[in-house]
Assembly symmetry: C2
Homo-oligomer: 503 residues x 2
């Protein structure tokens, strides 16, 4: 049927961003829709030359498209490698066989390695609709994944992407379970570990829901979009790097799954474990330290949850010969002062340069995590890791190494400064009792972060600080007056983001 | 924030059909996306004058939209009641509170009436994304709904829509669990019951995945798009009607849920029960007969499944004072000869007119179901229902009543005849061993049904028939040569849709 010549349509790029989801737009009266009996939201197999993808159909009436045209989303356009005017064919998508396993899982049948080795590549290839991915994630949350299933999922996710290999027996890595704004320890830890001779090829993500991801922050200091060849060159020369993971194809399924998980705000613990570990195993890590902030507005909200998640992570990692140590920490307030790419980069630089005004909480957290890696890898005896890390920071080795890493990644640069600022002051005397991580992050985003690198929020107080009326609580940074006004509106509507207990 | 004047955009109708899902398209660089920090697939609260809806955002690059425009899908356009050039405002959608109950359900907490009374109206109002609806459906399938939950869901679904009331103590209704092509007993049953003085206000659906829904078939005989006032007029005059349910707002949540269920091909039994019963309770039914074909390619595949589903239906219905009888039947082959609106209408007319060549299986099935209603309502003693129904059919009362109903609905008409036909013949001598309901329906759809009313497939054989090489098996009907060729391609690729055992 695909060869039915009369059913070809002229491809047209519509410039619609649908993330990884592929979409095709056809006129309701086009010959293909007529003869195939398509209707909107049908899953369609779209073929061009040798390539084909499954896309969701949206039918159009009116003049946006001609009857002999097929409009495609950017993701569909890229996957089919199209040029304007190329001919595409469309027919009902064949059944995606692996969905039978997902249905089975919904009805309570465990997933084995074979099943997951079919499901995950189908998800990576875009053969699952968001609705189908949602069913997979929900089933794995409603009927939690066993350790065996979690391990099989992890291994399937690793196998579905690129895998990095290194010429050293010990490859260290760090991951933060997240949820805590400004927690930008990674560049500091990489600098420390690399300066001590370790191999630490760190791939990081951009912000999805936060004001800045490590990749966004690092990008204000050096280029981060390096392919695996470039990464290898940097790491072989300097021992470490801090690059954007998106340019290397490590556990690509994770990026697809995480979007739907965030949209649903459903956490399947097994999924989270597979998500974290698959990226690290694919990156070639042998020793991993996990930063797990715990607090009412952090991702992990209780110590019990932290303990359960830590055990699940360690047990699964062990099956892959990966050594893991989890460090829980205070998640009740942001770490460092800045929230937003450039502002967070400044905090990082201050710590690396041993600036007396550097945020101490960021320095201490970075030393704890680097210390844990030094102990986990056997370089330092238990309890002596943080001290060894501190020495590398204090005598400037880490700072020197960091500059070399930036040069190797393409050249160090100065983080930009914002053009518009507004200080938010305390309206009464009292004690800083509570800081809402989620809403303070939202404030930084409304000011323009991470879209505008220089935008965001800069904290001037911490929990327990005594303030008087007029004391600066935080400064908003923006690139346009509109965005600044916009963030201020939100602040006015949410005066309790930083809660002051009057006395 | 909604009043932030600088953030208004000019509404533009894009003519994109997204079914009930609302979609908004904005330029990536438009001031709203910039200042709000929107990205594609965000859920956006779109407001115009006094109305507001939640829509999924798709960001556009290039010239499809200007930076001061917002493109809207047809569903969004209709819900906001927009005119071209109207101004709309957009901001992040507020949290949909009822999603917390859905998450709770995913983690195993039962849903009570309060929770469902929040969830269902939110779904009807389009506040749930398809991904969120999928999570709700999957959770209810992975951890099956209890009887209490099923009843609460049913009552919430009834409450979320319109409800019809009738001035008679007995209001009969009929529903087919479906999955069987050509099973068009409804118009016959309505004619019989109304001719016997019963009230049977039948609302039916159009085809979603089948070659014809009862509404599509009836529409070739009379108008079916009547609002509740018109329905009341017809039923008060003739006792019965056969109309499209879409024009009355009965259990609107069902239409939204069923689309996602079909897309997932996941059946939650509790959902199915609530779906069937909520429509009937909202329609004011007191006595309901359920046609449940059982067969390997029907919706209900085993007798055990049929028994379990029947009990669940009866138990739940009892809580609403609705009397239910389930009739299982042979689901191994289509009923009647036609598949497609006009072809099925001809079968219906032949039975009503006591045409000697009328398909007997359709006549018998209709009499069984009407008989069950007569017994269930106490009009006929057990075992005498079908006989009483047959008398109304044989002496022409049903046919007379049917014509009056068609007149009352707006005038009776002649079903159209197809312009192109092709007979598919047996390629060998033998016995008809198997007929694949799903693929024969697909064949009828490829020929143009239900889009082309006259198109479809017409069966000439039944299971067990002896055929010789050249015996007509079925005739394909189409409105265009292309569609006919298209269906024939499929037939060539699937020669075993009607399986002949050679001897």
């Amino acid at each position: 049927m695909t060869d039915h010549r009369s059913h070809q349509l002229k491809a047209r790029r519509l410039g619609i961003d649908t993330h990884s989801e592929a979409a095709i737009f056809m006129h309701k009266n086009c010959p293909v829709c007529r003869s195939e009996g398509f209707s909107s939201l049908n899953r369609i197999l779209v073929s061009a030359r040798s390539r084909s993808i499954i896309a969701t159909l949206y039918q159009i009436e009116g003049d946006m498209l001609a009857c002999d045209e097929a409009g495609l989303s950017d993701s569909a356009w890229a996957r089919l490698d199209l040029k304007d005017g190329d001919l595409v064919r469309a027919r009902y998508a064949p059944t995606v066989e692996s969905l039978a396993h997902v249905r089975g899982r919904v009805y309570g049948h465990a997933l084995d390695q074979d099943a997951l080795n079919q499901i995950i590549p189908d998800i990576v290839a875009g053969r699952y609709s968001p609705v189908e991915i949602s069913a997979f994630i929900t089933a794995c949350a409603a009927l939690p994944l066993s350790l065996a299933e979690t391990a099989a999922l992890t291994s399937a996710m690793v196998a579905a992407g690129e895998r990095l290999h290194w010429n050293s027996a010990v490859v260290v890595d760090k991951h933060s379970v997240g949820g805590l704004p400004g927690n930008r320890t990674t560049p500091i830890i990489v600098a420390i570990m690399a300066s001590l001779g370790f191999t630490m090829p760190k791939t990081s993500s951009r912000a999805i829901t936060s004001p800045a991801g490590t990749a966004d922050t690092m990008e204000t200091l050096a280029p981060v979009e390096l392919d695996s060849t470039a990464i290898r060159r940097v790491v072989e020369r300097e021992g470490g790097c801090v690059v954007w993971g998106g340019a290397v194809n490590l556990s690509p399924a994770d990026d697809v799954l995480i979007r739907v998980e965030r949209a649903l705000d459903i956490d399947s613990e097994g999924q989270m474990v597979a998500s974290v570990l698959s990226k690290k195993i694919a990156a070639g890590a042998t020793h991993l330290v996990l930063d797990m902030p715990v607090g009412p507005t952090a991702k992990v909200r209780s110590t019990d949850a932290a303990i359960a998640l830590s055990r699940n992570l360690a047990d699964t990692a062990a099956l892959f010969g990966l050594k893991v140590r989890v460090l829980t920490g205070d998640g009740r307030q942001p770490i460092g002062r800045g929230m937003g790419p450039a502002l967070e980069a400044r905090d990082v630089l201050a710590v690396l340069k041993n600036d007396p005004h550097a945020p101490q909480d960021l320095r201490i957290r970075a030393l704890e995590l680097a210390g844990a890696l030094l102990e986990l890898s056997g370089r330092a005896p238990e309890g002596a890791g943080a001290g060894l890390a501190a020495s590398a920071l204090d005598d400037g080795r880490a700072w020197t190494k960091f500059q070399k890493i930036c040069e190797a990644q393409g050249g160090m640069r100065e983080p930009p400064r914002s053009r518009y600022r507004k200080v938010i002051e305390a309206v009464a005397d009292g004690l800083v009792m509570q800081i809402d991580n989620r809403r303070i992050a939202r404030l930084a985003k409304l000011a323009g972060a991470p879209f505008d690198k220089a935008a965001g929020a800069e904290m001037h107080v911490r929990l327990g600080d005594r303030v008087v009326r007029g004391t600066p609580l935080c400064t908003l940074h923006a690139e346009t007056p509109g965005e600044l006004a916009y963030a201020l509106n939100y602040q006015d509507a949410n005066p309790d983001i930083i809660r002051i207990a009057e006395q």
